[in-house]
Amino acid sequence: MEIIQQILNGISVGSIYALIALGYTMVYGIIKLINFAHGDVFMLGAFIGFYAITQFQMNFFVALIFSMAITALIGVLIERIAYKRLRNATRIAALITAIGVSLLIEYGFIYIRGAQPEAYPDVFGRQSVSLFGATIDMKAVLILSVSVILMLLLQFIVHKTKTGKAMRAVSHDTEAAKLMGINVDNTISATFAIGSALAGAAGVIFGLYYTKIDPLMGVIPGLKAFVAAVLGGIGIIPGAMVGGLILGLVETFVSAIGFSLWRDAAAFIILILILIFRPSGIFGKNSREKV
């Protein structure tokens, strides 16, 4: 039953993309900025998890939460230091700054610790279960359950808490939200914190799944997660989840039918097709441009 195995692989990869894509889509929804540094926050999350497990002998789940807390802090710092001044700047200026922040994190990190890759500790060993005749790696089950829990948690925060309500209000209309007494700056920071924490969690489970991490690992998953966000409709939270899963499945099948070298191109071809035929994404609504 190879097909079940492939589908499960696709869902595992896809849920990692989905977790990163959520951060992209939330930030874009609220300040209309493609946060290029998001992929690097994901990378930092993987390394924080790695050091927490190897240096401080933390349990995997403690390390996961630790990494999420630190990346949330990093996300807020990036927003406060670099992006806050750009609220009223042009979109191009904001995008160039985001590229600059991304490069600064990558090469600053390489400068501090060197570019050599690390092997992630194999905390769970090689356990697997049999289901409908397919051997299923326990890691895939773990990744899936962690992502589902985090996504449910996110849905809860966005729809049932005051912060979530403020986030939705700010992304709908910043000016009106401000007039209603919502602290826009804090809400934006909260968005960055939540998005970055999700990226940090994605980094830790990415390290567990692929076992190899390096300072430039965030670039390609970051871009692909962005593709996933655009695919689902940027700014729409369920869209990012679905987009991530679709992208993961497509990539796994492109590899499975023997085109593994073309796997990276698949994501970009999807991106171009979606931008040409349905720029607002699967869940997006068409909006008219106003002068």
């Binding site: 670099a82 001044r85 995008l95 490069l103």
Partner: protein, 320 residues
């Protein structure tokens, strides 16, 4: 608007004199291989900066996939010289033309998009181009393709001069004015009856042509052409030249190409430091001087006030 500015002939003659002096120094071995190579790098970077300036600075279309067109030029010219044994000039022109064709194919669908989406689409296309070359065994795949060194000072200098002349003349022509109006306000220029898609594609194709020329010169200067030379970082390298010089300033792009090439030559042995400096330059320039060092001004604008009292403002504005 006049066809040539007053400074045109003096500047052209100065450029030719500069070429002759450098060529003389190279022929009499007073200028070593290292310095000659630095000059060639500067000239290639000027071609890249000026061609991207046309797309971003003049037409206001934010493309971050310029390295993709460079890759097309590099590979196609290498095929022409290495597999068909044709002269280098033919290779450069073929490289440019195929890159222009690639620009047309990429430009027509993606230039309907705006701002961020266009940036991401061009980035995606550049990655696709790179992955295509990575998967073609005829050009060596990931191991790359051996190329003999053919680029010299004369080729690079004259192609640089042609690039600058074409782009200056394009900017001054009707097409250039139309492109400027798209940069200032796309919806308004559409409403004025300007075929915005046509002018955007024209600017994009010309930009891609010269990126291909630069790619041809680049690959024949390195003995080898690899897909990894044309990744996202190369596009950022070109982008920073335009951003630092000023979005919309041709002389700004040239000056920052000269300056940053020298900086990166000095930091050759410290690639991480170079990237940290580059990223800090991007962030600091965007935070404190988002229009770039020169804004939309040209270097000649600074001298205009001296010759005629209170030189006329040429009415250019910042990019919105």
């Amino acid at each position: 608007m006049k066809r040539h500015s007053k400074a045109f002939w003096p500047l052209l003659i100065a450029a030719l004199v500069f070429y002759a002096i450098v060529q003389g120094l190279i022929m009499t071995d007073m200028l070593g291989a290292y310095h000659t190579n630095t000059l060639i790098f500067i000239a290639i970077n000027i071609i890249l900066a000026v061609s991207l300036h046309l797309v971003i600075g003049i037409t206001g279309q934010f493309s971050i996939g310029h390295a993709g067109f460079m890759a097309v030029g590099a590979y196609l010219s290498a095929i022409v010289t290495m597999k068909f044994d044709l002269p280098f000039v033919v290779a450069i022109i073929v490289g440019g033309l195929v890159a222009a064709l690639a620009g047309l194919i990429v430009g027509i669908p993606s230039l309907r998009l705006r701002g961020d989406y266009l940036a991401i689409a061009t980035l995606g296309f550049a990655e696709i181009i790179r992955i295509i070359f990575l998967n073609i065994d005829y050009v060596g795949g990931a191991a790359g393709m051996q190329v003999s060194k053919m680029t010299d000072w004369t080729y690079t200098f004259f192609f640089m001069l042609i690039t600058i002349l074409v782009i200056v003349n394009f900017t001054r022509s009707r097409h250039g004015i139309a492109a400027l109006s798209i940069r200032e306000d796309e919806i308004a220029s559409d409403a004025m009856g300007i075929n915005t898609t046509y002018y955007k594609v024209v600017a994009f194709v010309i930009g891609a042509f010269f990126a291909g020329v630069a790619g041809a010169l680049f690959s024949h200067n390195f003995y080898i052409v690899l897909p990894s030379q044309f990744g996202f970082l190369k596009s950022v390298d070109i982008l920073i030249l335009v951003v630092l010089g000023g979005l919309g300033s041709l002389s700004g792009a040239i000056i920052s190409a000269i300056f940053l090439t020298l900086v990166s030559t000095f930091l050759q042995d410290y690639p991480e430091t170079r990237m940290i400096i580059y990223s800090l330059v991007l962030i600091i320039v965007m935070l404190y001087r988002p229009q770039g060092l020169m804004g939309t001004k040209e270097i000649t604008d600074y001298f205009r006030g001296w010759t005629s009292k209170g030189g006329k403002d040429n009415g250019k504005d910042t990019i919105t």
